[in-house]
């Protein structure tokens, strides 16, 4: 970066440079002769982004392969079977319960005469902005071994630090993934099928379960996959609830032992599970296709709840209480205590500033990098762009702990001058959250007719100018929405931040973790509440995504 940076890359001799430039020019000319081809910078940039996204995984996999048979065998005997069981049983329980809960809530809100369903519709999505480790903190304050419940009842009602407790906490904060996908499918549902069923003698209730729910299978499946991927990658909540999963094991293998190779071994198994889930998703989508004729859309049938109205209302109320009201109330009470004790000092401002310093560049970079990649994919679809897309989205499913592990390896070896700077954290955010920005840009770009940029290019405008002058102004709201999502996700990110922060660089998320660990709930609640409030701002964008 400064003058001493030259020892990092050997100076290129002039002759070599000239040959290189000539080769590139020739390649570029040959490439452009192929007719309607994108200018070569576009695929090159896409390639660079895909390489960046894949690099930590590749590096972790290589390290795991190098770890040696003996280490594999030892971990296999000592750790892996038990970790597989605890991780998979947690995932299965949470996925099953969140699916049932999310689907039931979506049906109630979208299809019945539930009182106040217009408010429930968005209120039920709010838990999505609550990072589960903050939710876990609230539950520990309420139901933990030394929590409020114990002070009132004399003993905690049930052990929170257990499979059951972890399932409860993760379920109430992940069901919105299923709820939102199913609700959105229901809003687009074609009434004709149900009417056909009813005219054949089904009651509306029977038609619901025999016709509607089966047709919702793709939406339910998509939501369940999101929940599964979330549970597999979650670190904060399981670590706070002391439940052992692969992410927590990787973290402790990295931090508790002098064994980074062992951490790579455990990571590679987690990566394999994640890839299996992603493959499952593709496979299920290929297997069943459900077509709904468009063009005959009518308002869906509303099912009268009758006597069930009160129980249904209670049910929704309990869910809202468990997932929003109680956690927010608990945090507010403690945060008020913390503020009264002067938590909001200059140091706190520093933590908030640090959060901004890493989350803001991540969000800006995510917007800048997503645009050319998405443009290539949408305007010049090819096997290459599809493959790059897959790789980039796989990064999204990666647990933060593994991203951090890969980044430590990479920066320490190849980018030592950026090591121990906040730039490492920003890089991790980019790898974890770039797909969010891409999804938003892609959706916006789909609304812009290709004729428009074809016309611009037909007039001889270079691709870059088209992108900047024609496309970007048209899709700016979508791009900004994606940037906002990345910003909020980065703000809440815990595991990679925890492992990558340089000395003296604590963020809000890190403070929540550190203080909660020492049992200083008042000090933990203030940054936690602030993060939740900031995350509420782009909630509408989040809802529009589904």
């Amino acid at each position: 970066m400064k003058d001493n940076g030259c020892n990092c890359s050997p100076p290129v001799r002039h002759g070599e440079a000239r040959i290189f430039v000539r080769a590139v020019t020739r390649f570029r000319a040959a490439y452009l002769r192929r007719g309607n081809a994108p200018s070569p910078e576009l695929p090159l940039l896409t390639l660079a982004v895909a390489a960046m996204m894949a690099s930590p995984v590749v590096y972790v996999a290589v390290r795991a392969a190098e770890a040696g048979g003996e280490r594999w065998l030892r971990l296999w005997n000592a750790r892996i079977p038990q970790l597989l069981w605890s991780t998979l049983s947690l995932t299965a329980w949470v996925a099953a319960l969140a699916t049932v809960l999310g689907t039931a809530l979506a049906l109630l809100v979208e299809r019945t005469d539930l009182p106040g369903h217009r408010y429930w519709r968005w209120l039920l999505a709010v838990p999505l902005v609550m990072p589960p480790y903050v939710g876990a903190l609230a539950y520990i304050i309420m139901l933990g071994p030394t929590g409020w419940a114990r002070d009132v009842l004399g003993r905690p009602p049930f052990p929170l630090y257990s499979l059951g407790g972890t399932v409860l906490v993760l379920t109430v904060f992940t069901y919105p993934y299923v709820y939102l996908t199913v609700a959105s499918a229901l809003r687009r549902f074609n009434r004709n099928y149900e009417e056909a069923a009813v005219s054949c003698g089904f009651t509306t209730f029977q038609a619901l379960f025999k016709v509607v729910v089966p047709l919702l299978r793709p939406a339910i499946g998509a939501g369940a996959i999101l929940v599964i991927l979330y549970v597999l990658s979650d670190f904060g909540a399981v670590a706070m609830l002391r439940y052992d999963t692969f992410t927590r094991a990787v973290y402790f293998q990295m931090t508790g032992r002098f064994d980074r190779a062992g951490a790579a071994v455990l990571s590679s198994i987690l990566i394999a599970i994640t890839l299996a889930v992603l493959w499952l998703e593709v496979w299920t989508r290929r297997r069943g296709r459900y077509y709904q004729t468009v063009g005959t859309y009518r308002e869906p049938l509303v099912i009268p709840l009758g006597k069930l109205k009160l129980p249904a209302l209670l049910f929704v109320l309990v869910v809202v209480a468990l997932s929003i009201l109680l956690p927010l109330a608990v945090l507010s009470v403690w945060a008020a205590d913390g503020i009264a004790r002067g938590v909001l000092d200059a140091r706190f401002v520093g933590y908030a500033t640090n959060s901004l310093k890493v989350a803001l560049p991540a969000s800006l970079l995510a917007m800048a990098l997503a645009l050319p990649v998405v443009y290539l994919k949408s305007r010049y679809p090819s096997k290459f762009s599809a493959a790059a897309d897959r790789i980039i989205f796989a990064g999204y499913a990666l647990p933060g702990v593994i991203v951090a592990l890969g980044i430590i390896f990479l920066f320490n070896r190849y980018l030592p001058w950026l090591y121990a700077t906040p730039g490492m954290i920003t890089a991790a955010y980019l790898i974890r959250f770039l797909p969010q920005s891409m999804q938003a840009s892609e959706a916006a770009l789909a609304q812009v007719s290709p004729r428009l940029d074809e016309a611009a290019r037909g007039l001889g405008t270079p691709t870059g100018r088209v992108l900047w002058g024609v496309i970007l102004p048209l899709i700016l709201p979508g791009v900004l929405a994606g940037g906002a999502l990345v910003f909020v996700s980065a703000l809440k990110e815990l595991p990679a931040t925890l492992l990558l922060r340089p000395a003296g660089f604590d963020t809000l998320a890190v403070r929540v973790w550190l203080q909660a660990h020492e049992g200083f709930y008042a000090e933990a609640s203030v940054p936690a509440l602030l993060m939740v409030l900031v995350s509420l701002l782009p909630l509408k964008l989040l809802l529009d995504k589904y």
Binding site: M1, K2, N4, G5, S39, E41, R74, A78, R79, P145, T146, R150, R242, D244, R248, A249, F252, Q253, M254, T255, G256, R257, F258, R260, K357, V358, P361, L364, L365, A368, L369, P372, I408, N412, P416, W417, L418, Y419, A420, T421, P422, G423, T426, P462, T463, G464, R465, L467, W468, L498, R501, P502, A503, G504, F505, D506, L514, H517, E518, G519
Partner: protein, 350 residues
Amino acid sequence: MKKIFLIIGTVLIALALAACNPKPAPNQSSAPPAGEETGELVIYSGRREQFIMPLIEKFTAETGIKVQLLSGSAAEYALKILDERNNPQADIFFANDAGVMEKLRLDGVLQPGDPAVFAAIPADFRAEDNSWVGLSARSRVFIYNKDLISEAEMPKSIFDLADSKWKGQFAITVPGSEAMISHLTAIRLLFGDKKTEEFIKGMLANKPAVLKGHTDIRKAVGAGEFKFGLVNNYYYHLQLLEDKDNNVGVIYPDQGSDQMGTFVNVAGVALVKGGRNPLSARKFVEFMLKPEQQEMFAILNYETPVLPGIPVHEIARPIDTYRRVDIKLSQLGAAWEGTIDLMEKAGYTQ
């Protein structure tokens, strides 16, 4: 096309620079000559931040040297220092335990210190080349809940943890805890691998609650979740001074004449090799060893100062009033990794 790449490129570079901003200078592979320090002492600390902060603030106020603190787990930062050996970031490592500091010294990532600074500290509480030094002693004791068990009923030896009589009734820390690893290393050095492995297996067969840290253990025992737990002695003091759940007692194990004595470890500081602020680091160590600061260890954190003659808190037991394991703490480092392997072999894993 070029324009957009120019723009994106400029944005990327600007952001990268902005991201690097909090760090004043890019790293250099070798330490700068004396007098050209970065002016910000970098400390990796495995100690509780609430405890360390007042000491650091006092240091900054007295010397004008700013401190960048990274607070977390000592084992994590030990590993980080090893990772960073070609590109050192830290000047000072604040550890909870002598074993991990000696292990780092043997791995060649610590900087020998000036013997003159350490002369007052007992030799078994520091490294032979003075690259690390103990600041406060902590003894490994049983904390117990007086509502659930009486002093007479309590186990009196660490080996009682393997007795099936205590099945499901006590708590220990996760195996990643350096205090636990060092404690087991001491047992290994005294009794050999076979007996230690049997002990660990017997202890685990009793299905103890394996908690994240000593704070969790003291709170759980105080709340009556378990009859007793294995902690460092000052966690007993901390629980005793809580507003509630404070009916707890303490047992210093293995005090019989035929027994090994209570294991006493130290928390201390180590000097990192290649750190960019060697002068400030030396000042920091000198500062920590001054009687006033040593008193803070005793009063703020209820630990036992290593400097002889500093009074301890009234609820604490002075270090010369009980039998200690006869081991030099610097012996722990070489055996450290073998202990982790043994723990894993015996099934004591995260």
